[in-house]
C-alpha cells in the first residue's frame, strides 16, 4: 500500500488531535493551529485526489488489524478525494474571511473553544466523506450536530440561543430518525458495512422479502437526512441559525454542514441501499417534489426579507431544494448535477456570508438594506464579492451557479417527461425569483445615498480580501472549467458503488 493511502485516516485523526490540543491553548494559538490544520488537510486531500485519479480505482483502508465486516474501514475514491479537498478549501476561506468579525462576536476567553469546534467539525466532515461504515457515519453525525450547535451559540446573544435551541431540536429529531433507520437496516441485513448492506438489500429487493420494513427504512433515512440538511418543510431552523451567528459560522454551516449530510444521503443512495432500489421505491419522486417546493418557497421567503443575512439564509433553502431536485430526477446525470451544485453553492454561499459581514462592518454593524446603501463603495472588496456571489446564485454565465443550472437542465432532459417539464418550468421561475432578490440586494449596496457611515480610515482585513479573491477565482473556475470537474464527479460516482 502506498503511503498516500494513509492520508485520509491521518487527516481525520489530526483534526481530532488538534481539537483536543486547542482546548488547552489560548485563542490566538488555537486559531493558528486550526488554519494550519485545515491547510494541511487540504494538501493531503489533494494528494489523495491525485492518487485516485492516477490509479483510477477506489482503495480501502482498514482501520486496525481486522478487515471490514469485523472492523471499520474507509473507502476512498475520486469523488471522496474531490469533496475532501473542496470542503477543506471552503473551510479555510470561511475561517479567514470571518476572522475580524469573529474577534468582535466571540469573547476572548471562548475563542479557543470556537476553534476546537472548527477542528472537530472538519474531522466529522472528513469522516462522513470517507467512511464505508454506516455506524461510523452516525457517530460522526453526532459530532457534527453538536459542533454546529456550538458554532451557532458561541456568539452569545438571545437570537443565537433561540436559533441553536431550534437547530438542536430539529437536528436531534433528524439524528433519531436516521438512527432508527440504521438499526432497522442492521436488523434486516446483519451488516453495518455499506458494501455488504448493498449486497444484502439487493437480494432482499429481488426476492421481495421484508418489503415493508425496507420501505420504512428508506423513508426514515431520507427524512432524517432531509431534516438535517434543511429541505424545505423542515427548514424552519435555518434562517435564524444562519442569520444571527457569526460570519464564519454561517459560511461553514451553510456550505459544509448541510452539504455533508447531503453527501451522506448520496452515499446511502449509491452505496448502501442502491440507486435502483431507491428509484424503485419512488422516494426520488418525493425528494424531487420537496426539492421543487423548496426552490420556490425559499425564494419567495427571501424576497420578503429586509435583513441581508436572512435573505442569504432563505436563499440557501432554495439552493438546497435544487440539490434535492437533482437527486430526485433519479438518474446518474441528476446526481452529478446535484454534487456539482453542492460545490458551486458552497463556493458562492460562503462568499456571500463573508461579504455580507464585510458590508455590515462598514454600515455600523447593521444588516438592514436601508443602512447597507452604498456599502459597496465603502468596502469595495466585499461589494465585488457580494456581486459575484449574487450573480452566481442567479445563474449568470461565467459563474458557478450558471453551470450547475445547465447541468440540472441537461439531467432533467433525460429524466422522463413529467419530471422534465416540472423541472424546466421551476428552474425558470426560480431563476427569476433569485434575480428579483439578489439584484435588489446588489442595487441597494451600490446606491450612493447613505453618507452617515463614511469612515475614510476603514481598511478591510487583509485575510478577508484574500479569502474573497480566492472565493471569486474558485467561483470562476467552477463556472468556466466545469467539464473536468463534472467528469471527475462522474467517474467518482462510477467508483462509488
Amino acid at each position: 500500500m502506498d503511503f498516500v493511502c494513509n492520508f485520509p485516516p491521518f487527516s481525520i485523526i489530526f483534526c481530532l488531535a488538534c481539537g483536543i490540543i486547542s482546548s488547552a491553548l489560548n485563542g490566538r494559538a488555537a486559531k493558528r493551529l486550526s488554519i494550519a490544520l485545515v491547510s494541511l488537510v487540504g494538501v493531503m486531500s489533494a494528494c489523495v485526489l491525485a492518487y485516485t485519479v492516477k490509479t483510477g480505482e477506489a482503495f480501502i483502508y482498514v482501520m486496525g488489524k481486522f478487515p471490514a465486516p469485523w472492523g471499520n474501514e474507509l473507502r476512498v475514491g475520486t469523488l471522496e478525494g474531490l469533496m475532501a479537498l473542496f470542503f477543506s478549501i471552503i473551510m479555510l476561506l470561511s475561517i479567514l474571511g470571518g476572522l475580524r468579525a469573529l474577534e468582535t462576536d466571540v469573547e476572548e476567553a471562548r475563542m479557543n473553544l470556537y476553534f476546537v469546534m472548527i477542528d472537530l467539525m472538519m474531522s466529522s466532515l472528513l469522516a462522513l466523506i470517507y467512511t464505508n461504515d454506516l455506524f461510523t457515519a452516525y457517530v460522526f453525525v453526532e459530532i457534527n450536530t453538536i459542533a454546529a450547535c456550538a458554532l451557532i451559540m458561541i456568539r452569545a446573544n438571545g437570537h443565537t440561543m433561540v436559533a441553536a435551541t431550534k437547530y438542536m431540536i430539529m437536528s436531534l429529531l433528524g439524528s433519531g430518525l436516521l438512527l432508527i433507520g440504521i438499526c432497522m437496516i442492521y436488523d434486516l441485513t446483519g451488516h453495518l458495512l455499506m458494501s455488504n448492506i448493498k449486497e444484502a438489500i439487493g437480494v432482499l429487493a429481488a426476492t421481495g422479502q421484508y418489503e415493508i420494513p425496507l420501505t420504512v427504512v428508506i423513508g426514515l433515512v431520507c427524512i432524517g437526512l432531509a431534516i438535517k440538511s434543511a429541505l424545505y418543510p423542515f427548514s424552519s431552523w435555518l434562517p435564524d441559525a444562519y442569520g444571527y451567528s457569526t460570519a464564519s459560522s454561517s459560511a461553514v454551516l451553510s456550505s459544509l454542514v448541510s452539504k455533508g449530510y447531503i453527501f451522506l444521503l448520496v452515499k446511502v443512495f449509491c452505496r448502501v441501499i442502491g440507486f435502483d432500489v431507491m428509484v424503485g421505491h419512488k422516494i426520488t419522486n418525493i425528494l424531487f417534489l420537496f426539492g421543487i417546493l423548496g426552490m420556490i418557497m425559499g425564494s419567495l421567503n427571501a424576497i420578503r426579507q429586509h435583513d441581508v443575512r436572512r435573505l442569504i439564509a432563505f436563499s440557501s433553502i432554495a439552493q438546497i431544494g435544487y440539490i434535492y431536485m437533482g437527486i430526485g430526477i433519479g438518474n446518474n446525470a441528476g446526481l452529478v448535477a446535484a454534487i456539482f451544485h453542492i460545490m458551486s453553492h458552497a463556493a458562492s454561499k460562503s462568499m456571500l456570508f463573508i461579504c455580507a459581514a464585510g458590508l455590515s462592518e462598514v454600515s455600523g454593524g447593521s444588516k438592514n438594506f436601508t443602512d447597507l446603501k452604498g456599502a459597496g463603495y465603502r468596502n469595495p472588496a466585499a461589494g465585488i464579492g457580494f456581486t459575484v456571489g449574487a450573480f452566481s446564485m442567479v445563474g449568470i454565465p461565467l459563474f458557478a451557479g450558471f453551470t450547475s443550472k445547465v447541468y440540472f437542465a441537461e439531467a432533467a432532459l433525460t429524466g422522463g417527461e413529467a419530471k422534465m417539464e416540472i423541472a424546466m418550468v421551476t428552474l425558470a421561475i426560480s431563476t427569476i425569483l433569485n434575480a428579483i432578490y439578489f439584484i435588489r440586494a446588489v442595487i441597494s449596496i451600490y446606491t450612493p445615498r447613505n453618507e452617515h457611515f463614511q469612515n475614510a480610515a476603514y481598511r478591510p482585513a487583509a485575510s478577508m480580501v484574500f479569502s474573497i479573491v480566492l472565493f471569486i477565482s474558485l467561483n470562476l473556475l467552477l463556472g468556466t472549467f466545469s467539464y473536468p470537474i463534472a467528469n471527475a464527479i462522474g467517474s467518482g460516482l462510477f467508483m462509488f458503488g
Binding site: M1, A150, D187, G190
Partner: protein, 324 residues
Amino acid sequence: MSRMRNDYESTLWSRIEKFVNGEEPEQTMKRKKKSRASYEQVKREDVFMEDILLRMERREEESFLEKVEEYGEKRRVRRYERIYRILAVFLCFTVMAVLLVTVSYLPPFGNPDNPANNEVIERYIEKGLQETGTVNVVTGMILNYRGFDTMGETHVLFIAATSVTILLLAVSEKDKKRASDRSFEPKNDIILQKAAKVLVPVIFMFGIYVIMNGHLSPGGGFSGGAMIGAGMILYAGAFGFAKTDRIFNGHVIKIAKISALCLYVSSLSYYFYTGANGIENHIPLGTPGNLFSSGLIFFINIFVGTEVACTMYTFYALFRRGGL
C-alpha cells in the same frame, strides 16, 4: 424593484407560511408589543399630577376596550395553537403507528435464522478471545474490532463537554458571582459529610475496579469513569469546592483530560497505522484472564475512564459555579 404589500403579514398565505415555520402567530406578537408600549406610556405620563385622575379614567376605558379587542384575538390564537397541537399529536401518533407496524414485519426476536446472526457475530464470539485477548467480548468488540467508532464516541463526549463550557463558562467576576449557587444551600451538612466520608472511597475503589477490569468483566471506561465522576461530585457537594480544589482544580483536570485523550488518539492511530499497512505492531496480548492482558484495550479503558470522570465533574462544576 417590486413593492411590498403593507398588509402582507395579515394575509392568509402569510399565516400558513408562519404555521409551517412554527413561528408565533401574528396576534400574540401584536399584543406583546402593545402592552409594552402602553407600559412605557404610563411611565412617561406619570409626571403631571393634576392629570392623573383624568388619565386613570381614560386608561380604564382604554383597557376595557383593549380587553374586548383582546378577547377576540385570544380566541383566534387559542384556536391556532390548538390546531398546532392537534396536528403535532396526530403526527406523533402516525409515526408511532408506522414504526409499530414495521416492527411486526421485522425478523422475529431471538430467531437463529435472523440475518443479524451471520459470520460477523460468529467471529466476534468464537475468535474474540483469541484475537483481542479480552474475556469480555463486548469490550473487545467496541475497543478493538470497532475501535474507530468508539474513538468517535469518546470525542462526542469531549465535544459535548466543550459545548457546555461555551454555554456556561463565566468569564468576568460578576458572572462568576451570579453563576455560583453556594449561598443558596446549607453548608457543612453533617449527614452528607459523614456519608460522603464513608462512600467516596468505596465509590472510587469500585470505579477503578470497573475500569481496570473492563476487559475481564462487564463494565469498562465509560461506566467506571461515570462512577468516579459521581464520587467526585459527591465529595464536592458535601465539602464544597474549597476542599476539592486542592486536588481536582481546573488545571489538574485539564491536564488529565487532555493527556488521556491525546494518548488515546495516538495509541489508536499507531494501531490503525500498523494494522492497515500490515506491519507487526508489537503489542503483547498477554494471557487472557490476567489483569495486564489484551494489549491496548487495558490502557484505552483507563484513558476513557479518565476522560469520562473529568467530563462528569466538569459538567457539575460548570452548573454550580460557571467554571472549573
